[in-house]
Symmetry: none
Amino acid sequence: MRLLVVEDEVRLAQALRRGLGAEGFVVDLAHDGREGLTRARDGDYDALVLDIMLPGLSGYRICQQLRAEGNWVPVLMLTAKDGEYDEADGLDLGADDYLTKPFSYVVLVARLRALLRRGAPPRPARLSAGDLVLDPATRQVHRGGVEVALTPREFALLEYLMRHTGEAVSKSRLLEHVWDGHFDGDPNVVEVYIGYLRRKIDGPFDRRGVQTVRGAGYRIAADGG
Amino acid sequence: MRLLVVEDEVRLAQALRRGLGAEGFVVDLAHDGREGLTRARDGDYDALVLDIMLPGLSGYRICQQLRAEGNWVPVLMLTAKDGEYDEADGLDLGADDYLTKPFSYVVLVARLRALLRRGAPPRPARLSAGDLVLDPATRQVHRGGVEVALTPREFALLEYLMRHTGEAVSKSRLLEHVWDGHFDGDPNVVEVYIGYLRRKIDGPFDRRGVQTVRGAGYRIAADGG
DNA sequence: GGGCGGGCTGAGAGCGCGCTGAGAGCGGTC
DNA sequence: GACCGCTCTCAGCGCGCTCTCAGCCCGCCC
């Protein structure tokens, strides 16, 4: 899941990038309002975290502008406690949730997950394809009722594929959304991780769950294979 | 916006029809599962509201069946609070949102509007000609309901032809668009690949699907042949 | 009927895509 | 410092896909 964090306090921004990165999110940073708006427009993010007080363009305006353009990406606002603005303003301008600083990191992650789950399209709480079930909230995966333990990267990969069940998802799209957007390493990572996933959810020689679409990427069969 | 409400409690169904009608929706009712499935298939609705407990066929099954047929119309499930089924089961079967009874009418309308704003998941339109169907997103091709496995080149060729269904497409245009723009090899490749395609979608001696237009190229018949 | 040119096809060579095992790097934990 | 788990790189391999080639078929024109 790709996030854009627009926050001008550099130390907070870095901390968020590290922390959310460890949770399996791919995090991009923007440090002022205009940059934030531009990247939000072009970046194909799964959610935005917007500070309100920003140089250049406030978080309010970014959100308002995006909504006016018909962009309904889930937005979580960060508001300063000191009250100059209050939560209702943010929500009026189209934010989906807000947090007052200082906020608990755990709460931030929980709210983000909630946004991603129900936010954009009212998303199913759990994703499933046949007897394969993935729960983004608890980060658990079950195949035929038994739990399968996945590493963060494996989980992110499977989650992205399952959010596009049935579609053939190209390796470049996977690199974009599951790895860092500007990942410049060996694209072979994708193949390697597909291999790991298969061993865990299909067994070594079976590939009903994760299908290869030669020349086009990979696909989760709608019926789980 | 056309809605289909599948609900067996007559009074609730009538109330929904009146209430949603007043909101500007056009509401059709079905009172049991089979009727619901049939109408959902044929009716071209913008969204469905499905009760789970239904005579004939449960809301679960209706949803599951529609999804299996590739119908991704937005579905809002109504679940009874008493817990025999829980929300997650519904979402697992491909519903887009759910409400537990008794529900607030205002919430129902809000959820419906959210669903409709999102629209059906943005599946690129599938291309079809008669019983020949090609889905660019999933990279799958079906002939008369059965899947046909194509290689990347075969797929690209068929996709291009089907994007110009009815037209006679010259070999040079095909070389231009399906092969590399400055392909300088043997133009006979096109004939070879047309041959491969025919064997897979028409059978060895049939060429109703991909027709030869002598001197001008090839054509996909608009009715699939 | 005969000749010609466009279209079709079977065989096969070459190679690039995708898969895998091994292992290095790195950060965290004891 | 030793160990462990996760991520990523690398090199090798096998198969399926792509394309070439040569020969044949068939429609069309004289």
